[in-house]
Symmetry: C2
Subunit: 512 residues, 2 copies
């Protein structure tokens, strides 16, 4: 058995059975070995950033890692931005990065570069397999290392793939999720009993239905306010769950949302900081006289801690949850709010919403929060271009659930070839492009930073209008049926139709 075969069999044995791949010459034995191990599903992407973003979305929905197959250092570089997002969202993800054969490494061939250094910036675990005898054990260790989140990168020399002498390795025992000590729960319980102006701030692992319901029970019994981090990796949402408000993105709104808070209790989240620094604005929204308490850190069993907390402070309280309510279908101008209302009115049961709407997302969370139950995937690391790939990964992880991508236009272009993989896999994804013809977020930012000038030449660097991007034509060119909506009615009709048909669809929503 060669190294590639042992590697793939070991991965399958450890529960990693999807590989988002963008292979090159150095990965050919891995590709060939796919035929020997039919349990491993290879999904071809045309760009590594699609592979890594898809693995991110897959991990968020499947709760276990997919593999990526990347081609040397440049392939790792192409995948880096979405690996950054996955790292920030603590998604488990395994990169297999092909490299030159060991004997070729010293020759400084044209594709030689420092893969290890690049991998190190996003990975919690990096290893270069040194022989066919090692590769399977390395892979088993990699999977175990990321069981509770994190990125493992296995660098695979071509000859380690092709040489014989490898054997399959058993899956390694997974490290248990650390529990939160009772004394920590007691300390937080004391804060909730005595403290005024307490905010229970949720994120990460506790954004499940169970976690939110336990938190809402605490809130109901103590008067604490609930709030969530701005961009959670995955949030359960909809009727029957608390109508959880997210900390707003703009610094001034975030500061207003936390104004007067005396105690901030973190569950699964870290203390919030603004995305960017601005002249004359503090870097984080927590008031200076507010004390921050940690109930559970990311990676700890925060849901159990919240349940224990609820038992301690509010054993009989009933969580306040949202009644089912949808917006009505709007008519007329297709504003961002009208788009949000259409999505809210038509959101199917059990959908997965991938949100990279950015500035066009105004009203989107509000209009969907009390509708049918769904999961919401947000851009965790701020590196735009994760939305289209994440939707692919989510659809591969959950083939029976409809996926809806709400996608800003400028960001869509970073990884636009994801659409081809949608068509290839016939993934049930409906993409709504928020087509405002500009990097609108940057136009806001240009004002916000107080830039002295916002003249013609600066504006031109933020404007996508010359020429306009025709997303219908682009999507059709990659095999995805596409339509254009310029009114709320058109969007509603097209969205209904897209959701009723299996397979991918794209709607170019031209916003006013």
């Amino acid at each position: 058995m060669n190294g590639a075969q042992a590697l793939i069999r070991t991965l399958v044995g450890a529960g990693v059975d999807v590989c988002f791949a963008n292979p090159g010459t150095s990965e050919m034995h891995f590709v060939a070995a796919l035929d020997d191990v039919p349990e491993m599903r290879g999904v071809l992407t045309l760009f590594e950033g699609v592979a890594t973003g898809a693995a991110d979305g897959y991990a968020r929905m499947a709760g276990r890692p997919a593999a990526t197959l990347l081609h040397l250092g440049p392939g790792m570089g192409n995948g880096l931005a979405n690996l950054h997002n996955a790292r920030r969202g603590k998604a488990p993800l395994l990169n297999v990065v092909g490299d030159h054969a060991r004997s070729h490494k010293r020759l400084d061939a044209p594709l030689e570069s420092d893969i290890d250094a690049v991998a190190g910036t996003v990975s919690t675990w990096v290893r270069r397999s040194l022989s066919p005898a090692d590769v399977a054990a390395d892979a088993a260790e990699a999977v175990a290392a990321i069981a509770t989140g994190g990125i493992a990168t296995l660098i695979l020399p071509a000859d380690v793939s092709w040489e014989d002498g490898a054997e399959v390795a058993d899956a390694q025992p997974v490290r248990p999720v650390p529990h939160v000590a009772p004394s920590v729960v007691d300390d937080v319980a004391a804060v909730l009993r005595d403290g005024e102006d307490v905010v229970l701030f949720l994120g990460g692992d506790v954004m499940t239905a169970d976690g939110q319901l336990a938190a809402a029970q605490v809130a109901a019994g103590t008067g604490a306010r609930l709030m969530s981090e701005t961009f959670a990796a995955r949030s359960a949402r909809g009727a029957g769950l608390p109508d959880l408000h997210r900390l707003p993105y703009p610094p001034e709104m975030a500061m207003a949302a936390l104004a007067g808070t005396k105690h901030l209790v973190l569950a699964g989240a870290t203390a919030p900081v603004h995305f960017f620094g601005y002249p004359g604005t503090p870097g984080q929204p927590v008031p200076e006289d507010c004390t921050v308490h940690v109930l559970s850190r990311p990676g700890e069993d925060g849901v159990a801690a919240l349940r224990a907390l609820a038992q301690a402070v509010a054993p009989d309280a009933e969580p306040e949850v949202a009644e089912f309510e949808r917006p009505e279908l709007p008519t007329g101008e297709l504003t961002p709010r009208a788009m949000a209302a259409v999505v809210g009115a038509l959101l199917p049961e059990n959908a997965i919403v991938v949100d990279e709407a950015l500035t066009s997302g105004v009203g989107l969370t509000e209009m969907t929060s009390t509708g049918p139950r769904h999961d919401w995937l947000a851009l965790t690391g701020g590196a735009i271009g994760d939305g289209l790939p994440m939707a692919l990964g989510a659809a591969v992880a959950c083939p029976d659930r409809p996926v809806i991508g709400i996608q800003a236009d400028g960001s869509a272009m970073y990884t636009i070839s994801a659409l081809w993989s949608y068509a290839r896999e016939q993934a049930d994804i409906t993409t709504i492009i928020c087509d405002n013809g500009s990097y609108a977020i940057l136009e806001h930012e240009l004002e916000k930073v107080g830039a002295a000038s916002d003249g013609e030449r600066a504006r031109k660097l933020l404007d996508l209008g010359g020429p306009g991007l025709d997303f219908v034509s682009i999507a059709q060119g990659m095999g995805v049926p596409a339509t254009r909506a310029t009114t709320a009615e058109e969007l509603a009709e097209q969205l209904q139709k897209a959701l009723a048909e299996p397979g991918p669809h794209l709607i170019d929503a031209v916003l006013r």
Copy 2:
């Protein structure tokens, strides 16, 4: 004057007056400052890999650096693959990478990552500007550091951009190009006089017309064979120049080309190695009993050394140069060779050819080598996705010269949004997509590595045909007029028309 203004003015003063930009929030003051310094031309790209690839193409043609403007670590990551190509081609290039404000850095905001580590893998010079008082001097030093090639990366905290107290810095003196010592020339002259089976192996800086003519004079006077590296950054070509054969890409052909060589004399090139290692094949094509001699290293004044060598060994020899001859326009099936013949038959005077044809490039160099004079830009680092961006940079550098991009289909998708920038800039670029519906190079490689299996599932990872990519639709969606050619006649007609009109055009050449 704030840091951004001083930085841009300093760059302009040092001769860097084009910036390929993909800005984000942390770069807003840089964008705003563009309005204050009209001498700096900002060219918007929709993806950082387009910005870095364009800067690579610009540098090759202009002979001086452009700047890129990248957004934090993920932006640097997106640009990394084409920075790898630029590094391998020794193009001078200055990255300005925006980062968080200094006070924001410690907060580990979502976009925080280790920019310095990633930058270090491709840069010969990396610095983080620590205050507005430093940034202009840092920029001047960066430009001087890359005068003879190499990548400089200046990391620019947002507050260093926006704070006042900066002053423009003078351009720094440029380090002279090192000359080759006369004794080195003498040693090589002795080899040429006495040695048998000498190959004079050219690359890098000596691929200019002057360098090649001097080398051809040496060859004419000594009987040495001329050969060039496989993928030179920029080669002068056409009638009146030597018909210089490139070392073939496939290992077995490269070894055959150098078989029997007793002395390999390097001028501007490094000793060749195969792109990849293969089972049972040596890693480089130079015969074991061949002695390698260095006339000039990359970055040294190799043209002067070749002239001195010609004076020493062949003062009266006449270089053998190609007579003007073009292929006839072919008819019928559109094979790769027919495509090459069409390009050869219609190549305009003084064109710039950007070659990322890969497997579809069969016959392309042969069919163009004796036509009108032109420059040829090749993929130096093997990281596919440099072709479309390089053509943009070449067109910006040389607005009066026609640019022709010969572009493999799979590779085109890595940086496809370059087409939008073509339309935006109305760049005079004709792109021919070599549309074979597959990663053909990988199908060859799958056989070449001797992979045990090449069954259905492996093949599926190398096939771009399900669904087919419609490049006409994709290009039109980005504002580039596009047509499809399925016969040699159609390609000829469409290419003639595209070359006759200014602005960008794309031809989807469906190859058999």
